[in-house]
């Protein structure tokens, strides 16, 4: 209706546009914490704890403890951002601010609302992974160009959480379940997915459990890419596992979003 002859922007891109627009309100604190978090974690875990570990164990998986922990923490940062962006903002867009309903009164369809929001999460995950990678480089942990691939690996890791979680968040009436996701999901995964020690050190029965979690694959993928010499076969398996979770989550979300928003 604008009278111009330019090509219309895809509908999902207009939904993404909203999320990018509203980010200008909080981008400073958001970007600052994206820098601070890796800085604090790498200093405490890598240099503090790491010097102790290296003195006694010499090396973990053939590298310094700092180099071992660093890329795993990238994957975990992606998990945390992927989770938080998929919980409260979705609840807000349905119940508190009702952004989704504002969008649905315009040409946007439910699928555009969903896809645009996930596309925004991809943008956020790219920022967080990119900044984290930069900090790893500043700590001298990036050894080859292959490490650049840790950015998409971080995005895949985060999205493997976001996609199923937005599908779940769209079914919720209250935000109570979100704190359960953190307490019984995010925190145990953070501790037991091979970030701080190889999962081979877990009791035998726990190892398959760790293997089934998305964070384990994200950590393994990011670590081998950052440290260099990532084995192709294993990397493909890790990426495929994460992609499968993303696809399943997205498919589920198309159903839960439609049920919630188009009644």
């Amino acid at each position: 209706m604008t009278g111009s002859r330019r090509r219309a922007r895809p509908l999902w891109l207009r939904s993404l546009g909203y999320w990018a627009f509203q980010y200008k309100r909080t981008w400073r604190s958001s970007v600052t914490s994206s820098f601070l978090e890796p800085l604090l974690f790498l200093t405490a875990m890598g240099i503090g704890l790491g010097s102790l570990v290296d003195r006694h164990v010499h090396h973990v998986a053939g590298v310094s403890y700092l180099a071992f922990v660093g890329p795993g923490l990238l994957a975990s940062a992606a998990m945390q951002v992927g989770t938080s962006e998929a919980t409260y903002p979705v609840m807000g867009a349905i119940k508190w601010i009702r952004t989704y309903f504002a969008m649905l009164a315009t040409p946007l369809r439910v699928i555009d609302v969903l896809t645009g929001h996930l596309a925004w999460i991809v943008v956020r995950l790219s920022m967080v992974s990119g900044i984290f990678l930069g900090v790893l480089a500043a700590f001298g942990l990036v050894r080859s160009w292959e490490a650049v691939l840790a950015l998409p690996a971080g995005v895949l890791t985060g999205l493997a959480f976001s996609a199923p979680i937005v599908a779940f968040a769209a079914t919720q009436e209250k935000d109570a379940a979100f704190s359960i996701i953190y307490r019984f999901g995010v925190v145990p995964l953070f501790l037991f997915s091979g970030i701080f020690f190889p999962i081979t050190l877990l009791p035998g029965w726990l190892q398959p459990v760790a293997w089934a979690t998305p964070l384990y694959h994200g950590v393994a993928l990011c670590r081998s890419l950052v440290l260099g010499g990532a084995p192709l076969g294993a990397s493909v398996v890790h990426a495929a596992y994460l992609l499968a979770l993303i696809a399943a989550g997205y498919a589920l979300a198309t159903v839960t979003y439609r049920r919630r928003l188009s009644v």
Partner: protein, 320 residues
Amino acid sequence: MPSAPHPAVAPGEPAPLVVARGLVKRFGEFLAVDGVDFEIRRGECFGFLGPNGAGKTSTMRMIACMSPVSGGTLRVLGMDPATDGPAIRSRLGLVPQEDSLDLELTVLDNLIVYARYFDIPRAVARERAMELLDFAQLTERARDRVEPLSGGMKRRLTIARALVSRPDLIILDEPTTGLDPQARHLLWDRLYRLKQEGVTQVVTTHYMEEAEQLCDRLVIMDHGRFAAEGSPRELIGRYSTREVVELRFATHDDQTEALSLAPMAQRIEALPDRLLLYSDEGDAILTEAHRRGYAPVSGLVRRSTLEDVFLRLTGRTLVD
């Protein structure tokens, strides 16, 4: 104006913007809209009146292509909501019952963000936003966040937002619920101006005064069906008398005694606190009441309103 329930489109007259035939909305077992037929013509203001839960909002949400039709047919701007949702919605403006403004963004940014959903270029969006803020008397608040605005300001902003795409049809779901009289009158004035400009409007309300002010034609909905339809004046003519006499008495016995006036009225209604006599000759009844010495504490003759029609058709029982 034709008084037939479903006036046919005369030759040369533009096609109606909305046509519904046997329209149904079902939520599980519950029938919210039970097979209604209506047409909304270009340039008119069409009202849906009814008590809470009558099916007004469900009907509106189907017209707005936000809620799938459960049965019957619905055509909006000549298109099918099931397949042409985006194309239809690009020409509609919706003022929902519950605000969906972004409270953290500024007044101006709310309009710009919304315009961008319609793919309106940023510069055009800004220009239109400034015009609409003037229309909505919000220019001074353009740079303020939305959250601290009053209810009336938020409603005006929501209406401005619905107009940013220059819609052919604007849908207003209870636009003035919860507003004080000043805010309500200002809104009515703005809606009247829009109608003068030829914007077709669909309004739901449970304020009869609002319906009388705004609507050219309206339907009264109850339990998912239409109890009546026509212009406010037609409905009053059809379902009520020209005048209503209201008599209040000091005691219940006095009121009972006055029931003997009934033969003079076309209809009589005894409420706990007063007696209502519906008649075209109100003054005659009031004079007769005094002549017979019934001595009401207060007695007045007033014109029938849409509220009388509404209460007659939908009853006085409280709907929760």
